[in-house]
């Protein structure tokens, strides 16, 4: 059994109380939600914090999926399992269910949260790619109140986010636009492994022409933000295999993978291309066949 170094532990009773604790304890403290990244790092003694503030009791306050006109609001403590099982979320953004099906395993999904996933800011993390694809924004609360940042602003680099030492990510907002659908494709060496590469795509059609499209990639470099060049290349054209190929080429050219145990950089670049095409194709097929096909696809 791997055992962590000594630490103090406190269960938060409210978001504001947790922020108060963070304000007081500074960099020596860390929030624990699902704990599936933090606790292994602590056991391996790669991360050593003097205090852990457990926010799992705040699930009532921060665990929700709320669909409103124009947007979906997802509480930061919403668990993977809840995201996977939410029919409303799947209807608005099928990409979520695609991704959640291939995130880790049921044990992790029962505990892990969307907020924890985003704040871990692992370049291979699936929900980061999903939120990037959907142009999400993040609500961060601190001692001086709330602020809303885009995904571009949220990510500062691998394992770094805009969330300050005394702040908490409390909500993710996903804008709903008509005529759209989305999809996620991932290649992994084994079920539950991190992605070798994955690609998310969201497409909006207007009169058979792509009015907007976004692609988000995971595990191909430190930059998890969307690829504007793909959006530009797709806008204004009807969907076609040629267009997907063009988007795939841009994806491959825009990423910066490294060779590791999961695969060679060359292969990952190929996957960025291949999976971008597949995700775009699936998203467009879903628009064309309507929401009914969702469960089958």
């Amino acid at each position: 059994m791997q055992v962590p170094a000594p630490f103090e532990y406190e269960r938060a009773t409210s978001v504001d109380q947790a922020i108060g604790l963070l304000e007081r304890l500074g960099s020596t403290a860390r929030l624990v939600a699902g704990g599936h990244s933090l606790l292994p790092m602590m056991k391996l003694r790669l991360a050593n914090f003097e205090y852990l503030i457990d926010i799992n009791d705040l699930h009532g306050e921060l665990g929700y999926v709320t669909v409103e006109p124009g947007q979906v609001r997802v509480g930061a403590l919403t668990r993977h399992r809840e995201l996977l099982e939410s029919a409303e979320l799947a209807e608005a953004f099928p990409i979520f269910r695609d991704a959640e099906k291939v995130i880790a395993d049921p044990v992790v999904r029962n505990r892990g949260t969307i907020g924890g996933s985003l704040c871990q800011a692992d370049p291979s993390e699936d929900l980061s790619a999903v939120c990037t694809t959907l142009d999400a924004s993040c609500v961060i609360r601190g001692p001086s109140g709330e602020r809303v940042v885009t995904m571009d602003e949220f990510y500062r680099g691998p394992y770094e986010t805009a969330v300050g030492e005394d702040e908490i990510l409390i909500e993710i907002r996903l804008p709903i636009r008509p005529g759209g659908s989305s999809a996620y494709h991932k290649v992994e060496r084994r079920a539950g492994d991190w992605a070798v590469v994955s690609a998310g795509a969201a497409v909006w059609l207007e009169d058979g022409v792509i009015s907007d499209a976004r692609v988000g990639l995971a595990a191909v470099g430190p930059n998890t933000t969307g690829i504007p060049a793909i959006s530009e290349a797709l806008r204004g054209s009807p969907p076609s295999e040629d267009l997907y190929r063009r988007a795939g080429e841009i994806a491959a050219a825009s990423c910066d993978p490294v060779t590791d145990m999961r695969g060679s950089a060359e292969y990952k670049r190929h996957l960025a291309d291949e999976l971008t095409q597949r995700a775009l194709r699936t998203a467009v097929d879903r628009i064309n066949s309507g929401p009914r096909s969702l469960e089958e696809s």
Partner: protein, 797 residues
């Protein structure tokens, strides 16, 4: 000899047929495992028990300049901090390995692999012990590591084992088998010669339960009790006696429930010795349980053979000869567990299941700055590597001859009438009817239909592959005249006592790690003496309560200990017959045995049951002349030969041409392990082994970077397969009994692990035929399959 009732197993067969003897029955040990009531090493809690943690080297090769333990000793919960220098003072810094090499218990001069043991801390709890490790300050003088086995013997390679007197290179041993000149002559006349480089990468057994122990030395009576994760408690006890100087009768080794072994729990690890030393020094019980990373980084690895295979054949597909050149990476210390005369284990069976004119193998083993071992992972003493080599090279030949791989194998099998068959490397195969087993697997697979489907798919650009592998195993070491480990002959004892009420206890020298000994051995005894398995207690894993024997590994439990159990039961039955003759007042020759009772010939009503006899044996009244009271016996079984189980495996894969992901769609496994004691347990063993094989073929590898950092130090980095990577197994069987085993049984534990990797790889290579691929090395991750599709399959090391 092969029975004709070979049939695919109906998965709805009743698994609880309550046999009095062989047959399907639920495992007696499962109620406690299913309820979480198994008792493992880490469950042992003793009053005053202390906890030990080991400081390990962060680097692969370095000279130790100094070790400062002052701060660690000052930790309030620390009871002792011990370094290599401390052990050297007691003469305990080095210990023998199972291959007559030595291994550092704690490093004194140098560290030779990342993860090597450098010092240990004993503290009041596990957390404090681990905390104190961080207070030890070691100054290392970094040396150039030797990581690539191919360059280990080059003149400029650093000498790893400068502890060995006069050692000036990294050479470990040379070994050869077969006839070099005769093989060369056959190759010279052959129409076709195919040569292929084949790597079997380093993998790890990764049992769910890591290794550990609780050492409890009682100062008053001078007795050491060691609860430990051991597949071979008796062999371990003897080695501890030899190393520590404690008298053997004052050492009791207990292997409680084991959470998997796969060979990983055959060696004696430094951690066990450290815990014993700590208990001797402190006079308290001391627990050491390694964590997952320690298990993966430092304990017995498997494989790591860089092989070159060559096969010679006629142009119409008659295989004439096979030869191979092997470079074996043994890591920093030669810790291979194999009989001493077999430094390459049983790799000599690389001639496979084929009738050859000649064969030859030359092997060179080297030291590298990697963890020692080379024992494990259900390898049957290196038969895994041998079978992989021959089954790959035969497929390469099929590729070159443009022959169907199943047809090529059928053409070259050793024929039934040739058994017992002496191979060109000297192994005597006991029995077999390979073609029948092969044809059954093809029938179950619908082989011809699969080939038709493949042709259609290829025409559409889809990638489907069909892989065939046929293996023959050699399991059940001894005989003791040929096989020993550190001078201990590979034979096994067994003791059977029937209690007055007709219940029994059978004591084994072997130790289950999940194989189901508590059920299988009760069934073996039940079959012979007619006492129901539920009434037979199986005792194992405790040296004070079981007879001596060499333990469970290399699929040897049923071939060796299983034979012992059958023979000891027959010995008891022979005595029971004499007692029955007295009870029924007839001569022994007038008695007939039907399972569970003796009756007078021609008069079934005049009978006594084994239970009646047991009471008589212990009861009042006279027994026949010369017969002592009691109903018990003990034997030690020395096998006459190994047993040779075999099997035909067919794997069907689909590969996504866009992503190179491999999906194992079907797997048909037909095994012949001779007499089948409990078919349900056999199927379970096969399912596990097949899963192992898919894991090795697709994802498992202990890799190192150039500095010698182990890249497989967690289960996030070292992948093992899940249910989602494997298909619904289709198992079948034929039955060809072993002629020399008392009940005709052969081993089964490792068959599937041995046979399945070549089937999976052959299927993948077959799928990639349109790309002109003849070979690709494991692990065939999507990235490595894609490399092959681009025309440049790369070796993994």
């Amino acid at each position: 000899m092969t029975t004709l009732d070979a049939r695919p197993v109906d998965k709805f067969d009743d698994n609880d047929q309550k046999p009095i003897g062989h047959g399907r029955m639920l495992r007696k040990e499962d109620p406690r495992f299913i309820r979480g009531l198994g008792k493992y090493c880490d469950d042992i809690q003793l009053p005053g028990m202390l906890h030990l943690a080991i400081l390990r080297s962060p680097v692969a090769h370095a000279r130790i300049v100094s070790v400062d333990v002052t701060a660690a000793q000052a930790h309030p919960k620390v009871k002792a901090v011990i370094t290599g220098a401390d052990l050297a003072e007691k003469g305990l810094a080095w210990m023998p390995t199972l291959s007559n090499d030595v291994q550092a218990v704690l490093a004194t001069d140098k560290v030779r692999f990342q993860g090597q043991e450098v010092a240990f801390v004993v503290a009041e709890d596990r957390y404090a012990a681990r905390d104190a490790l961080e207070l030890i300050d070691v100054d290392y003088d970094i040396l150039a590591p030797v990581i690539d086995a191919r360059t280990a013997l080059s003149a400029d390679a650093a000498v790893i084992r400068d502890d060995l007197e006069g050692k000036t290179d990294n050479h470990c041993f040379d070994w050869e088998t077969g006839d070099e000149a005769a093989t060369e002559a056959v190759f010279a006349k052959a129409d076709v010669v195919v040569k292929q480089d084949i790597v079997y990468p380093r993998v790890h057994p990764a049992p769910m339960e890591t290794c550990g122990c609780v050492a409890d030395y009682e100062r008053v009576d001078g007795k050491l009790t060691l609860w430990t994760t051991s597949q071979a408690p008796h062999a371990h006890r003897t080695v501890y006696a030899l190393v520590s100087g404690l008298p053997e009768h004052k050492i009791r080794v207990i292997a409680p429930d084991l959470g998997g072994g796969f060979g990983n729990k055959v060696p004696i690890y430094p951690g066990y010795v450290c815990a014993i030393v700590a208990s001797l020094v402190l006079g308290k019980p001391v627990k050491w349980m390694e964590d997952r990373s320690e298990n993966l980084v430092s304990t017995g690895f498997a494989r790591d053979y860089i092989m070159q295979g060559e096969i010679a054949a006629t142009k119409d597909g008659k295989i004439l000869a096979i030869r191979t050149n092997v470079l074996a990476d043994h890591g920093a210390f030669n810790g291979t567990a194999a009989p001493v005369k077999y430094p390459a284990g049983f790799f000599g069976v690389f001639t496979g299941s084929y009738d050859l004119e000649a064969a030859y193998c030359k092997m060179t083993a080297v030291y590298t700055n990697k963890a020692p071992g080379g024992v494990a992972y259900a390898c049957s003493f290196r038969i895994t590597e041998a079978v992989y080599l021959v089954e790959r090279i035969v497929d390469c030949l099929a590729y070159e001859l443009e022959m169907d791989p199943a047809e090529l194998r059928l053409k070259n099998f050793i024929r039934p009438e040739q058994f017992p068959y002496k191979s060109k490397t000297g192994w005597v195969y006991d029995s077999g009817d390979y073609a029948t087993t092969m044809r059954l697997s093809m029938k179950m697979a619908g082989y011809d239909e699969l080939r038709r489907e493949q042709a259609e798919k290829r025409a559409r650009g889809e990638l489907m592959g069909i892989g065939v592998a046929f293996f023959t195993e050699a399991v059940g070491a001894g005989p003791r005249k040929d096989m020993d480990i550190l001078g201990l002959g590979m034979a096994d004892g067994c003791e059977l006592r029937v209690h007055p009420t007709g219940k029994a206890v059978v004591r084994l020298s072997v130790k289950t790690q999940g194989q189901g000994h508590e059920t299988t051995f009760a069934q073996i005894v039940a079959e012979e003496i007619g006492i129901p398995p539920a009434d037979i207690e199986v005792v194992h894993g405790d040296t004070d309560n079981t007879p001596f024997g060499l333990g469970t590994y290399g699929s040897r439990s049923t071939p060796v200990s299983g034979a012992a159990a059958a023979l000891v039961a027959r010995k008891v039955r022979d005595k029971a017959r004499i007692i029955a003759s007295g009870m029924l007042e007839v001569s022994v020759a007038d008695l007939e045995w039907t399972k569970g009772s003796f009756h007078v010939k021609g008069d079934p009503t005049s009978a006594v049951t084994i239970q009646d006899i047991a009471m008589r044996a212990h009861g009042a009244g006279d027994l026949p002349d010369g017969i002592e009271g009691g109903l018990e016996a003990q034997i030690c079984y020395n096998p006459e030969n190994l047993t040779y189980p075999y099997g035909a495996y067919i794997c069907v894969v689909d590969i996504d041409p866009g992503t190179a992901e491999v999906k194992v769609r079907r797997f048909i496994a037909v095994d012949d392990c001779g007499t089948r004691i409990n078919p349900m347990i056999i199927e379970g063993q096969v399912h596990g082994g097949l899963t192992d094989g898919v894991g090795m073929a697709l994802m498992e590898m202990i890799a190192f970077d150039e500095e010698g950092n182990c890249l497989g130090g967690s289960l996030m980095d070292y992948l093992i397969p899940t249910a989602l990577e494997v298909p619904d197994w289709e198992t079948g069987f034929t039955v060809t009994p072993s002629p020399h085993h008392p009940i005709g049984a052969k081993g089964i534990g490792e068959s599937a692990t041995v046979g399945s990797p070549p089937a999976v790889v052959n299927a993948i290579v077959d799928a990639l035929k349109p790309y002109g691929i003849r070979h690709a090395d494991m692990p065939l991750t999507p990235s490595r399959v894609w490399d092959a599709m681009q025309g440049h399959p790369t070796p993994p090391v």
